[in-house]
């Protein structure tokens, strides 16, 4: 009778050892695969940086490691491609776009999230449906609109900042993202604020915005990346370096540099640096917000 009580079976020593070994091998193989992934994803960057520090002969040869570090390549690329001009252009364009986009989207997102008005849901659905429209459908009429506006209005649009900023100030993506966050602000806060005598705008400024730093940052980073990437539209609406953004400048430089790989890679790295800085500063919150919203600019 007493024998029926089951006694926990003691594992033999060598079996235990095998288990530990197995989990170690498992972990090691996972690490090996992960590291292989990292090697694939950063090798192009490493090659770019190494090549950008070589002499022309080395860069065209089969070397991977430069014999001496030629930082003057950066100076030369910077001067030759007028990167300073493209840089300032891109920064100014981004800042103008961002200031408009943020102001307008914050206001619209607040109204869509927290005020009930007739036609709200239908209008929001209509605006949201524009995401489906491919850029190639819009690019031709928008080009015509922008030229028209420039020709009838007092400000130049082509070869100037308006054509490259104004069309991007209305962003349904930003409105959508912000609306999600604004909806989560508890109603009690608004009631309290109203008792204190503050209206919508003050509530928005003093309560809602300080609570929504994360989505605001995502919008800022994404539209920074977006305007750093814009190529087709600036190609249409600019025809001199005066207002050309960095992506277009780099694309031109890549064509002109021809076989001068070291300068080309220096130029590429110059373009990447600001985005890298922004990404490394914000990356934790940024990737998490992307994962949470699952959206893409």
């Amino acid at each position: 009778m007493a024998n029926s009580i089951s006694v926990p079976r003691l594992e033999p020593k060598n079996e235990r050892f095998l288990q530990v070994l197995g989990s170690w091998i498992g972990k090691l193989s996972i690490y090996a695969l992960l590291i292989l992934g990292v090697v694939i994803s950063i090798t192009p960057f490493v090659w770019m940086i190494l090549t950008s520090l070589m002499t022309l002969g080395e860069a065209q040869g089969i070397r991977w490691i430069p014999t001496e570090l030629h930082f003057e390549n950066y100076v030369e690329a910077w001067k030759e491609a007028a990167f300073s001009e493209y840089f300032t252009n891109s920064v100014i364009l981004t800042l103008i776009t961002l200031s408009g986009e943020l102001t307008f989207s914050i206001l619209a997102a607040y109204a869509f999230a927290r005020i009930k008005f007739p036609g709200r849901d239908a209008l929001f659905a209509l605006l949201l449906s524009t995401i489906m429209i491919p850029a190639m459908v819009n690019i031709i009429p928008n080009f015509l609109t922008v030229t028209w506006l420039g020709r009838i209005g007092p400000i130049k649009w082509i070869n100037n900042w308006p054509a490259q900023t104004v069309p991007f100030m209305g962003s349904i993506f930003a409105i959508f993202l912000l609306r999600q966050f604004f909806q989560q602000v508890p109603n009690e806060l608004y009631d309290a604020a109203r008792i204190d005598g503050s209206g919508h705008l003050r509530f928005l400024w003093t309560v809602v915005l300080p609570l929504s730093k994360a989505p605001l940052m995502v919008i800022i980073v994404l539209s920074f990346i977006g305007s750093w990437n814009s190529l087709a539209w600036p190609m249409l609406v600019t025809n001199s370096p005066e207002w050309r953004p960095i992506a277009l400048g780099l694309a031109q430089f890549v064509d002109e540099a021809g076989q001068r790989l070291n300068l080309m890679m220096a130029g590429a790295f110059i373009t990447i640096i600001p985005i890298l800085l922004i990404y490394f500063i914000t990356q934790k919150q940024f990737t998490e917000s992307i994962a949470r919203s699952g959206l893409k600019g």
Partner: protein, 558 residues
Amino acid sequence: MERRLVSSRRIREWREYLTAYLMIAPSTILIFTFGIFPVGFALFVSLHKWRLKRGGFLGMDNFVRALDNLSYILFFLLAVGLLVLGINAIRKMYQQASENDDRPWWLAFPALVFSATILALIYWVFKLLPELLDIADKIIGKEKSRELFVQLLGEAFRADLAFATWGIFTKLVLASIVVGVILFFAKAFQNTRNFGYLLNFVFIELMLLIGGWLIFVTYVAVQDAYRVAFEAGADPGIWPQVITIGSGVILIIISWRFWQSAIQQSSDRAFIFYILGALTLLVGGALLITELPTAMAAGDEDIWTGLKVTAFYSLGTVPFQLTFSLFLAILLFQRLAGSEMFRMLYFLPYVTPTVASAAIFRQLFSNRYQAPINQLLISLGFEPLQWVREPSGIFTMVAESLNFNLPEWAAGPSLALVVIMIYSIWTFVGYNTVIYLAGLGNISTELMEAAKIDGAGRWAIFRHITLPLLSPTTYFLSMLSIIGTFKAFNHIWVMRGGGGGAGSALGTTDTFSIVIFTEFFEKLRFGYASAMAFVLFAVILSLTFVNNKIQGSRVFYG
């Protein structure tokens, strides 16, 4: 006292509305001007001969040039689709009405006034648009001033056709207001559902009117094409093609319906009956659709190569992207030390400016034998390849190295396009991994524990728990990636070596977007490029629709 309270509440309500409208105004105006209006404007452009400047009205000619007779068939199908939408809406409304014991049918008459007003507005904008565009030409060489602009605006407004349509529009607006007031005072909306019925009727009538009009217009265009062809002594054969291909498409849709109801059948016999029916219909439809190549024989070849390249590009990137990123996400999900750092590094290619990273790839995969990838091939004992400059298909190249010849249709994507695919996979795996990680995080661990206790192995858990529960994420990512491949522009532009000519791989890397852009930007054919862009739009919409139907029904939302 009572009255004043009510009215002050009303005033407060109106003030709320006003605040809201003012707050959304800037964004809404901008999105309308640069996001919604352009679709109509593009349609307007696509109906004209438009080379930098607006030429004559062409009707469907641009579409016919692009797709040959297929364009008539597509217009008919579009019209039928609109009619089906309208009829479906009637059916749904009938159900809702009989459930609630409502009798809303008389609302169809006031709705007719409203939908006529909307159509008149569209018609007026269509007539006014060219006059407005001409203002820019009239202003050249004159001192720009507000007075001049207002004067020209007035002239545009009073131009014959625009003014006549404006007259119709204003009369209809007045009629709408009168009808609205009558409805309001007749207490038509005491039953709150009536407002919904009214909107539904407006939608239905718009669909039916536009669908019917489209059928009429296409019919006239086909008759014109016949007349022109007969004068030249040829037979365009449009009607037989419309009938065979149209019924082929309808057969395939019915077959899909059969297939769906087959799954719901409980008895084996009914199941087999439905499956057989679906298969027969499918085969019949497919046979009828084989007429397609003759219907589009005279179409623009660039469009078909562009579509083919885009299809290759989608098929060659999306599955790989999703598989690799799912794999990486599962590895990262083991929560080993340092997984945050791995995630950050995988995400790096996605945030890098595309022009820069595409330039790097163009050099890594350069045709020079000293380029890194060619050096890798040489060190492994292979011949160096042309990579970004190689226009021949990769299946052909593989077959040739094994000493046999493939027919031309089996050539596959060019090696240059494969480089672009590799680039895309490299760029987007990190983004997809982050989204998959979030999806994995949402799966409850209890389910996995339970399965483990039941003795399920790792593979069984992955196959029967992880994968089904991840299906919403997979669905979302595949949609996003497919649409992304249709939109792709920057990196392909850089890798094909910028504008001008066919590019470094003889046009084998030109996706549909690139074809449209060169048609517009280099050949300056605005009208034709717009028509092409609409074809792209139609392809994206139908892909989304099909993906929704097929994959959407399999998505498992826990």
